[in-house]
């Protein structure tokens, strides 16, 4: 019991925060919003996976990756490839010159399914691929960089170049990837229509529960000895190294974990939104994910979920009503967060949240005192006969 309470929920404050977030996501939002808006929230929550992964990697590990969109995209594309193959069975693609292959391949004069698409006919393989492809990719990048003690700014720039490479590759290789349009027209998962209303509700809750599992897992990692080492490495890397720890292995590990977490978000994105395209892979989405984490508070697993929801909600509202203002606001928000609130929303809450509660209690107290005073005055008035 103590294990669950301290290690997974994060003590009293963590448990309260988790309960409030769970109530919001699992109860309040589904009751208040119509399906269209709820589906949007579900989409935002898939970004929250990437934001949570950045808490591990950036907040605690001090490693800023500008390539989380790569892993988000890899997860999303793996899922999309499976769904696309299911949607393009020979029956529904019989008007194509080569039936049975995805429509964009047919448009690009491919006559045969490429070899790397073949395994995605199996759902088991796809689930494994969603988790393993990003992990292996992250391992290769992490191994070659952290073993050579490349970190900080260089790491950020190189991950950004990798994000650019992947985008250019996907856009350029239309026949294999669907190009700039991405992989669209996804219909069913094992014959279960993911476009139906009931499916959208179910996917929303599956997504939310996965997100909470990921947060619990991350909390477990961060409260372990590994989490403390991570924090120590962020502050004094050399000292940890001199104490006999192999710093690079820890960094590679946390990079791989964060890649897997982002990839789960990507796969859920594909399922809920019904397509995947390069615009969710490249440099801009990757930096936006960092924005979500920064606004929510890079050290807070729960804060980043609020950060993601808030920024995306703002983006939707503002781009609907004042599209011109939105970029100014986003830019100003970003500068303000970096300069004045480095710990984001969570930092503001830690600093002023307690006072707010105190304030409410003071209000009550003041009210009680005032009513007592009023009574006294009444009594006095009666006595003096006014």
């Amino acid at each position: 019991m103590g294990f669950v309470y301290d290690r997974l929920l994060g003590g009293k404050n963590g448990a309260i925060g988790m309960a409030i977030l769970a109530a919001l996501i699992l109860l309040i939002l589904p009751m208040m919003l119509d399906l269209f808006r709820l589906n949007l929230v579900g989409k935002y929550l898939t970004y929250a996976f990437a934001a949570v992964s950045l808490v591990l990697l950036w907040g605690y590990g001090g490693i800023l990756s500008l390539g989380q969109g790569v892993f988000f995209g890899l997860g999303g594309y793996c899922m999309a490839m499976f769904l696309k193959l299911e949607a393009s069975d020979p029956e529904s693609t019989k008007i194509q010159s080569t039936p049975g292959i995805p429509d964009f391949m047919d448009w690009n004069q491919l006559t045969q399914l490429p070899w790397f698409w073949e395994p995605f006919n199996s759902f088991g393989f796809t689930v494994l691929a969603v988790l393993l492809v990003p992990a292996v990719f992250a391992f290769i990048i992490g191994y070659s960089m952290f073993k050579r003690r490349v970190g900080g700014v260089y790491f950020a720039i190189i991950t950004q170049i990798i994000a650019l490479i992947l985008t250019v590759l996907i856009v350029g290789q239309q026949g294999y990837t669907g190009g700039i349009n991405g992989i669209t027209d996804l219909k069913t998962l094992h014959g279960w229509d993911i476009r139906e209303d009931s499916a959208k509700y179910i996917l929303y809750f599956v997504n939310a529960i996965l997100l909470f599992s990921v947060i619990l897992l991350s909390r477990f990692i961060l409260t372990s000895k590994f989490g403390r080492l991570l924090l120590a490495m962020k502050d004094k890397e050399d000292r940890v190294r001199f104490s006999g720890y192999d710093v690079s292995n820890f960094k590679i590990f946390v990079f791989c974990i964060s890649a897997i977490i982002s990839a789960i978000g990507g796969a859920m994105f594909t399922l809920q939104v019904g397509f995947m395209s390069p615009s969710f892979v490249g440099i801009v989405p990757s930096i936006e994910m960092v924005i979500f984490a920064a606004v929510g508070g890079r050290m807070s697993l729960i804060g980043v979920v609020y950060g993601t929801l808030l920024v995306n909600y703002g983006k939707t509202i503002f781009s609907e009503t004042f599209p011109e203002l939105w970029l100014y606001l986003m830019g100003a928000l970003f500068i303000a967060v970096v300069m004045y609130f480095p710990n984001g929303l969570a930092g503001i809450w830690d600093k002023h949240g307690g006072k707010l509660f105190g304030f409410i209690q003071n209000m009550k107290y003041i009210g009680v005192v005032r009513s007592m005073l009023d009574k006294k005055r009444l009594v006095k008035a009666e006595v003096s006969g006014e």
Partner: protein
């Protein structure tokens, strides 16, 4: 390559090589500014592309104004526009340093985020002022046309002009950094900030002017850019990653490295572009650079700066 004759192959290499040189010029102009800001000061300026766009829009504005009010001036406005681009972008950079960057020197990763915010604001600013459509200035006649040394080779004059401009700016930067007393102060501050302060260098002023100079050079890059392509609100962001790559590949603190890396990246890309599709040429170039950087993180020319 059997289908090409030797003469054709020579022409292809000459022309692709020259288009590589044009790309090299713009990349180098962009990268010089960034090499000063990132290499010397350690600030990751994600808004660098937008400072380039400031230069490009300034050139466009001067072109429109001179066409409107001083038609006789159209032939010569371009020289004037280059100088003004430098001043406008430099002044904006000075303000940005004053308001934003100087608070973040101790947190390099946060400068990345803050300048990204700045770049969003600037992009929207361009969109509000100049509209979302791409614009290009009217080029004076002497920049048009091309030079034909032999029949099958066609070398555009604007490309040669940009190349000349780049050479001039590069020489000027080298003179400033390595021969002037100001450059000495910049290099001293880079190597040991505390000691530089102790011997009486006003390091804050040095920082501010260095940043402004870097942004000003980006402005010149923007002016040069208008002769090659048209400018839109997001033009700057298209080049920012390439520019960072040039600086990192060359070795962050080395200006020679920046030149060498801009040259090799531009040439590799434009020669590959002829034989395989443009996007694959880009992928191969980028991939080669990432692999190179993984093997040799310090870049082409490592400088001996103590950490």
């Amino acid at each position: 390559m059997g289908e090409y004759t030797a003469q054709e192959l020579l022409s292809i290499f000459a022309m692709q090589g020259f288009s590589g040189l044009s790309l090299f010029s713009v990349l180098l102009l962009m990268a010089l500014g960034l090499a000063i800001i990132f290499g010397q000061m350690g600030v990751i300026n994600m808004a660098h592309g937008e400072f380039m766009a400031v230069g490009a829009y300034t050139t466009y504005l001067i072109s429109v104004l001179s066409e409107e009010y001083f038609p006789g001036f159209v032939e010569y406005y371009f020289i004037f526009a280059i100088a003004l681009s430098f001043l406008v972008a430099g002044a904006l950079g000075y303000l940005a340093e004053l308001a934003l960057i100087r608070h973040l020197y101790k947190r390099p990763l946060d400068t990345l985020l803050a300048t990204w915010g700045l770049s969003l604001i600037m992009q929207q600013g361009f969109r509000s002022i100049f509209g979302a459509r791409e614009v290009s200035p009217t080029l004076p006649d002497w920049l048009m046309g091309s030079y034909q040394p032999i029949e099958s080779i066609d070398i555009p004059i604007n490309g040669m002009f940009v190349l000349g401009l780049t050479t001039f700016v590069t020489l000027a930067v080298f003179y400033l950094m390595f021969k002037s007393s100001w450059g000495l102060r910049v290099r001293a501050t880079t190597q040991n900030r505390v000691m530089s302060g102790a011997v009486g260098i006003n390091t804050k002023k040095v920082d501010r002017l260095t940043f402004a100079l870097g942004c000003g050079i980006a402005g010149i890059a923007g002016a040069a850019f208008t002769t090659i392509a048209s400018t839109g609100p997001t033009t700057g962001s298209l080049y920012i990653v390439d520019t960072f790559m040039v600086v990192v590949f060359g070795g962050a603190a080395s200006l020679y490295g920046t030149i060498a890396s801009a040259f090799s990246i531009a040439q590799a890309q434009s020669i590959l572009e002829f034989f395989i599709s443009g996007s694959m040429a880009k992928v191969f170039t980028l991939l080669a650079i990432v692999i190179f950087l993984m093997l040799r993180p310090e870049g082409l020319f490592a400088s001996k700066v103590r950490k």
